[in-house]
């Protein structure tokens, strides 16, 4: 069996692929780099696959914490692993939009599903999951509730600051001047969608567009992004753990190539 582990800034993900190349299990644990979240994610994925650590013949680590993870046969970037995961589980994707905890990226794929080019956010939290976490805190809800809240919006309250810190005070003043939380949540999604559309534009966004990363689970944010891009954005299966799936797929391929 083959394992992939994706140690992000705010969560850890693991995936196991069997000898026949089939995806056996995935797991997500809400603790990222600097914690032992990766161990828990891997143990859970192993348990789900009915396997033990000693059954793993090759392990690829990816994500922000990849370099500090001991026990990996190889470390690869999130960029390659997201592309591989999407190619493994879907077909026809030409653009991947990945929005994770502290970065967001747009990846352009060639016809074979390999990375042709990519663009990432600048050195700040604008347009990343962290931005939505800040928004959720101000709105006093959980991040996974934002989508539902925004769905009840009747108008968008524009948030002009791209900086998460400035946006926080902007939102507080909007709320105190009587704007509804639903509309503010929608505004936050539109803001993040615009930022990501800018990234996607840089690499020449082409359909099919597939979204990965934790924010892909936020239906309202995905809808806002579809609107910004003028094209439907599909959500990848196992969107949050697809980097780990890609890492496991690389593990499978590399072990075979080494034979």
């Amino acid at each position: 069996m083959f394992a992939g582990i994706d140690i992000g800034s705010s969560s850890s993900k693991a995936a196991i692929i069997g000898d026949d190349g089939r995806l056996l299990s995935v797991s997500v644990h809400n603790q990222g780099a600097g914690t032992d979240g990766h161990r828990q994610a891997l143990e859970r994925a192993l348990a789900l696959a009915g396997a033990e650590r000693s059954d793993i013949r090759f392990l690829v680590a990816t994500g922000y914490g990849r370099m500090r993870y001991e026990g990996a046969d190889r470390q690869l970037t999130e960029i390659s692993c997201h592309a591989k995961g999407v190619a493994w589980l879907t077909s026809g994707a030409r653009t991947i939009i990945d929005v994770g905890g502290q970065d967001s990226k747009a990846i352009k794929l060639d016809a074979a599903g390999n990375v042709a080019n990519f663009a990432m956010n600048e050195k700040c939290a604008a347009g990343t999951g962290r931005f939505l976490e800040v928004m959720a805190r101000v709105l006093d809800c959980r991040v996974d509730e934002l989508s539902e809240i925004a769905a009840a919006s009747v108008k968008e309250v524009p948030i002009s600051s791209v900086c998460a810190v400035f946006a926080e005070s902007e939102v507080i003043s909007r709320l105190s001047s009587g704007e509804r939380p639903e509309d503010v949540a929608r505004g936050a999604h539109v803001s993040i969608a615009r930022r990501i559309a800018g990234l996607a534009g840089r690499i020449g966004c082409q359909p099919e567009i597939v979204m990965t990363g934790g924010v892909a689970l936020n239906g309202d944010a995905v809808a806002c992004l579809s609107k910004e891009l003028g094209h439907e954005v599909l959500v990848a299966p196992h969107a949050q753990a697809i980097g780990a799936v890609g890492a496991a797929a690389f593990a499978w391929e590399m072990a075979r190539a080494a034979k």
Binding site: Q75, L76, N117, K123, M254
Partner: protein, 409 residues
């Protein structure tokens, strides 16, 4: 050869000349002779002819950056009211003008400013500002941006006039006559130095490249500061010969690792993070073999042809239009057999950032070579994230590896 008998290496000479350069300026000041501050690609031939001790604030700021001392001066400039969005070379230099000393390298304050507008518009405001703050005269040579592919004839004539006028201003400033014979000699020598600089950096076309491009960053100091001197000429000739010998012996850039991939570096170095940026590349066997720098100081023209000299200074990458820049990058990809390109999105340099995405897109389309952009700054250490840089470089390595049939496929 016995190590004790061996002649001086170019690296030793580089160090010696750099020290000499700064000592010369300090000595001039101490003896009551004027000191000039000049922009990095200005026609120093005029200053050399006039025997004026000159220092180059951009190089000085780079040296301060590399010694991790930039924040002292950046803080000083920002406290003084200069915005964080101004080029960090300008902030370091303006800060230095206030503080007056540094651990990395001291330079005397200027008695004259010599500014050429071929590199960007920022330098004009920066130097005007210095002129006012320090109450010293400024000579400005305008070299308009070339919106057409070639330097237009009217521009050449205009710039020749600018240079003639600068000569008159120098005569008035020094109260000495401008010696045309000496000027010819300086022109000849400057061209010869540039020729060897270009020849040396061209040796990186060999595979593996005998040159590690980060060394080129170091040698740049002398092509900026001493290209009109005999010593500068000798340095580049020597460096060339050393690299040629290495190439002939099939030696690569490092003794501890092999060159697996060859890339160009677009933009200025990240001086405060030089070793981080270098090591992350080397770890993957990536050698930076070239950049836009070799050509920036390949300033060539016929001796005594003032218009040709103006055109050469106006023809640098930073002052040319998009079509030229893209064609030039493609040429580098082909001639240096590059596997990838690293673009430094430099927070300081609006001029370079302005066109970078478009250059990346079009060069990518033309050549099919993968590339990455990372965020940084040439001297402000705060605008760089090591983890983000490493991820981007590794992603580039993975794209290049796949291009060579790797990654288990």
């Amino acid at each position: 050869m016995n190590m004790n008998e061996r002649s001086v290496t170019s690296k030793e000479l580089l160090k010696k000349l750099t020290a000499l350069h700064y000592e010369g300026a300090a000595k001039a000041k101490a003896e009551g002779r004027p000191v000039v501050w000049a922009t990095s690609i200005s026609p120093q031939e005029l200053l050399e002819t006039m025997d004026l001790a000159t220092v180059y604030p951009e190089n000085h700021a780079a040296a301060i950056g590399a010694r991790k001392e930039a924040l002292v001066f950046i803080d000083e400039a920002e406290r003084d009211g200069y915005s964080q969005d101004i080029c960090s070379y300008a902030r370091v230099n303006i800060g230095y003008a206030g503080v007056g000393k540094s651990e990395a390298q001291d330079i005397p304050l200027p008695d004259l400013l010599f500014c050429c507008g071929n590199i960007c518009g920022t330098v004009i405001k920066w130097y005007e500002n210095l002129a006012k703050e320090l109450r010293v005269p400024m000579i400005f040579i305008d070299m308009p941006f070339n919106h057409s592919f070639h330097v237009p004839a009217h521009s050449r004539a205009y710039m020749r006039g600018q240079i003639e006028d600068a000569i008159e201003q120098l005569e008035a400033f020094t109260k000495r006559r401008f010696d045309r014979d000496k000027f010819s000699e300086v022109m000849r020598l400057s061209n010869a130095t540039c020729e060897w600089w270009k020849k040396a950096t061209d040796l990186a076309k060999a595979k593996p490249s005998p040159l590690n491009g980060f060394d080129m960053f170091n040698y740049m100091a002398i092509i900026v500061c001493m290209r009109g001197s005999k010593e500068g000429y000798e340095l580049f000739k020597l460096w060339h010969d050393e690299l040629a010998a290495k190439a002939a012996a099939g030696m690569g850039p490092w003794s501890s690792a092999e060159e697996k991939y060859r890339v160009m570096w677009d933009g200025i170095a990240c001086w405060p993070h030089l070793s981080t940026t270098f090591n992350a590349l080397k770890k993957h066997g990536i050698n930076m073999v070239t950049s836009s720098y070799p050509e920036s100081w390949n300033l060539r023209y016929e001796t005594n042809d003032l218009e040709g000299m103006a055109a050469a200074y106006s023809s640098i990458y930073a002052n040319r239009n998009l079509d030229y820049d893209i064609g030039y990058m493609k040429k580098l990809v082909d001639e240096f057999r590059l596997d990838g390109i690293v673009y430094h999105s430099n927070r300081s340099c609006k001029l370079m950032d302005f066109r970078q995405y478009e250059v990346q897109r079009r060069v990518g389309e033309l050549t099919g070579v993968p590339s990455v952009i990372f965020d940084g700054d040439q001297t402000d250490p705060r605008s760089f994230s090591e983890a983000q840089y490493e991820t981007r470089i590794q992603a580039l390595a993975e794209m290049m590896e796949r291009g060579k049939g790797g990654m288990g496929l």
